[in-house]
Symmetry: C2
Subunit: 462 residues, 2 copies
Amino acid sequence: MEYKIQLRESDMPKQWYNLAADLPTPPLPPLGPDGKPVSPQMLAPVFPMNIIEQEVSTQRWIDIPEEVLNILYQWRPAPLRRAVRLEKLLKTPARIYFKDESVSPAGSHKPNTAVAQAYYNKVAGIKRLTTETGAGQWGSALAFACALFGLECKVYMVRISFDQKPFRKLMMQVWGANCVASPSTETHAGRKILAETPDTPGSLGIAISEAIEAAVTDPTGQTRYSLGSVLNHVLLHQTIIGLEAKKQLQIAGEKLPDVVIGCAGGGSNFAGLAFPFTTDKINGAKIDIIPVEPAACPTMTRAPFVYDHGDTACMTPLLAMHSLGHAFVPAPIHAGGLRYHGMAPLVCQAIVEGLFAPRSYHQSKCYEAAMTWARTEGMICAPETSHAVAATIDEAIKAREEGKEKVILFSYSGHGLMDLSGYDKYMSGKLSDYELPEEVLQQCTKDLAKMPPAPMRKSGRW
Amino acid sequence: MEYKIQLRESDMPKQWYNLAADLPTPPLPPLGPDGKPVSPQMLAPVFPMNIIEQEVSTQRWIDIPEEVLNILYQWRPAPLRRAVRLEKLLKTPARIYFKDESVSPAGSHKPNTAVAQAYYNKVAGIKRLTTETGAGQWGSALAFACALFGLECKVYMVRISFDQKPFRKLMMQVWGANCVASPSTETHAGRKILAETPDTPGSLGIAISEAIEAAVTDPTGQTRYSLGSVLNHVLLHQTIIGLEAKKQLQIAGEKLPDVVIGCAGGGSNFAGLAFPFTTDKINGAKIDIIPVEPAACPTMTRAPFVYDHGDTACMTPLLAMHSLGHAFVPAPIHAGGLRYHGMAPLVCQAIVEGLFAPRSYHQSKCYEAAMTWARTEGMICAPETSHAVAATIDEAIKAREEGKEKVILFSYSGHGLMDLSGYDKYMSGKLSDYELPEEVLQQCTKDLAKMPPAPMRKSGRW
């Protein structure tokens, strides 16, 4: 038995997988301010055309450019590891595998799409990218990618994380990016929110508004916006995770996994691992595919499926997704990357189809799992990743109780070395859990009723 | 061309290499308080006998226990990477390879020996380990290893790093270790130094005194001390770095490297990479082997070769080494792991033999190199590692000027994600350099003249 399965560079997938080609029902299109589907041209001030083409593509396989591969090779193929010591501790008959995305220079799965997006902008002649970041994983990933392609990079970082995680900002600066706390005084959107709620901890929705505004109002026209999750092209770039994992499981002598697990904030990490296995499920394989979200921000498990904006200031098109409403500001949990009011439309459509079984956890349970993980497997995971670890432990115990020799695969989306303050709170007994109150959810749902309806389309039916 | 060369687990070396077997002149033995060589029994209160046997062994190859291999597999074999983008930037004909030890759970090469030491103590029936740590790389590595073997772990962390790097302490706590600032009030040695110099930034020498005292005074007799560098057995455990690199260079189609570079504080990182190539040099190969140290703590380049204690309170035997004196407190440079008054006796003996060509750099030059590295190769290195990066850049430029197609190999000993405050100082123009004044060096040398003489033995001559 090998403890980790390494692919050679020559065996790394050379194409991304597009789930849109295989979903029983294609996802609902984004809508413009007029309630009609947006055209590619309408998105042109925000994204370069080569990315917009990917965003709307229904082609099953899309080539990864060689320039992108040459940078991914730095840390990819990422290892698939076996959590032998955790299996032993839990006395489970399950075999637990995890795809280790923490090995990238920025410490998470995020560079997989950052590199691709920086490349496409570069070849489109763009000089500067703007973006938002929550915990800082995405901002540092884009800063890294921009450094390698010689692009300028501006990051709006959710204030609570900006204050809690000064070292993330330093990472971005080392890579040459400019990072400010959001809401900032640099944009109309930021100033408006600061005027209304000066003490706001910020949110991904607000930071996205600021970053889009900064991109589209640049008079030189050489700035575009880059998003770290949610959109189809971002999920596409992440499918290299699951494609590699599939090859690696075969090398390990496994067929398909019985359970696939990933934490989901905007959905790209989860989708990256899960989509290449979702196609097997669509074709009849029995796989439990589980996106895990925080109970403090329960989009998939409690929020309605609606048309809503991706950002707080309503600058994005309307996306068909599970949403708590674009004005929703999630409680200040440590997993900053999971504090998002919406969810990737492709993930949501698959949920509607019954392909995924989302669940939510409180952060104290996740930190407990992360501590167990650190002391058995020896790795310190990101607060986001701890949600997947918690679900994996639950599934491994379930396998023990059922006496089933299952194969569990989860995405180890990032390390927690930049996010240790949450561990500090947990160890000193000062960690709070936040349950979204039912009345807040009802108010969100009521507000969302003003948006255009998103018909639930399942298996081709409207 | 592959950007990184991965070995399979089955190709990982199963034995460590002991340079003591091949040095032209065996190193001088450690001396006890009576000026006579220490016997293994005299070290028994400090280390378990299985480690003492390794410390004095002159056997060329020593088996790595299977229990140790099974944990090393988690991140080993570590990748050998090619720094193609740096080569291009420098327009050098040199091929630059680096052995990436930053991929370990603790982020550096330190777990290579931490795991071995925890194992040997465990099988010797020891329940608890004490140690010192500078920047925290070693303390967190031992905490990690102790967690996996179920040992208690107590870490005395040099105060300046304890204050500058709170997250390192949190890492140790997540792995279950107890970490205090040194000098502490918990030991006689600590209290004495605090009484004399209450504002001391601390030093590795002081922290070692505290950790040894805590081990040998434990009334249960079940505590031992663990050292992260300097001693023969520690260097031995690190040779897996160079042994792997040797195999990987062959896979890459290279013969021996022309230049081998590593930063050196206590010497274990440098030795780990260099020793397996030193034997080739002894046998006639032409290799420039360069240990790099900070100009603020110049043991190899400026300090005399003498018998001195490894710690400030004179608890260790006398070691034959380049030393600035056991009472020397280095300036507060950011590379905490290089702030040590001495140097591994095996490294020093090889310097005496003319096998290594040590050099020193100021930290501002190293941070400049680290910034170049981050923006071309995309990786953020530890302040210690930046010394090796700086030397690599110098050597690559030299190869360009000489028009020589050299193979340069360096040890990428750790990532800098926990050490970003130094980058902050550099980027904001607030970084200071510290040159050791000649009069301070002369005073050190004068004080050391009171110690027993260490005859320079070169190539078998006394």
